[in-house]
Symmetry: C2
Subunit: 199 residues, 2 copies
Amino acid sequence: MAEFIAPLEELIEGFARLPGVGRKSATRYALSVLDMNDDDINAFSDALANAKARIKRCRICGNFTDTDICPVCEDTERSPIICVVEDVRALMSIEKVREYRGRYHVLGGVLSPMNGVGPDQLNIASLLSRITSENIGEVIIATNPTVEGEATAMYLTKLLTPLGVKTSRLAYGIPVGADLEYTDAVTLMRALDGRRELN
Amino acid sequence: MAEFIAPLEELIEGFARLPGVGRKSATRYALSVLDMNDDDINAFSDALANAKARIKRCRICGNFTDTDICPVCEDTERSPIICVVEDVRALMSIEKVREYRGRYHVLGGVLSPMNGVGPDQLNIASLLSRITSENIGEVIIATNPTVEGEATAMYLTKLLTPLGVKTSRLAYGIPVGADLEYTDAVTLMRALDGRRELN
């Protein structure tokens, strides 16, 4: 049995397509499926088959939704601040903190000329139109602190400033619980730059 | 958006049922599905739905198969030695080494009175009948080196010896690449017991 039998092989290949899952983990997952009960397997299989059809993008902000408008945009209690993120993953991370009670806008990526991603490939036009239609007072640009994320933040700032809206960027600094000894020089420099007075 | 939308939640729950997959990894996997192409998703979903129906147990040895008899048992070149393993995972591990060219027998567990697993719950009767029908010369007992695995090995030896078949057990010792300093006392004792003369 140099190779696995076809149905097992197909299942392993499915799992191996997931990010960070190698052949060994995929095999482990595939074998565990054989021990699951039929209802669980069918629910899993259906969720998988229907995910793309059932999960749509919110017409307003680009978040995932199963209706026309996502739960965040439907929430009328949210203050007129927009947090601009690269993808839904970032949106979820911020929501999980339960500190921010504003709205979101999902760009769907960052500017990356090397990969052929220009402003037209991103969800930027609708962001600009939301500023006036939703009477937005501040835009927090929460793209990742990478070269592309920075470039995108600068580009957006240039577009947003003429609209009279305040733009801000997430603070750079030392992550809580980190050790100064192991913090890279750029982060330390940014942490010094952004130092705050103690009252 | 304190919780995820239903179709995403269902998909996350499916992935979270896999061994060693927590909610965070499950979410990552679920989101990655949305970036896959439809053919891959459908193949994955079908493999999942059909796995249990298509993957059967070999009538002879208990290995996984999609036909009546597994590829190992169908291989007439295999020498008349049986390696007894707890489960198919162990069989696969031994096959991967490509050193052993005998047959297998999958017990489907180990004796564990605490969990209500007695000899009748294991695939033992068919092992005994194979000894004569396949003219087996040696049985290698490759249950795991746990209390239950040991007890099962001893039980099998008692059953097999009267049949005039040679029984053996995998060697205990220090794993290759390990450090004596960090090897537990029982393993070291077994390694001393099983020492081999250098020629």
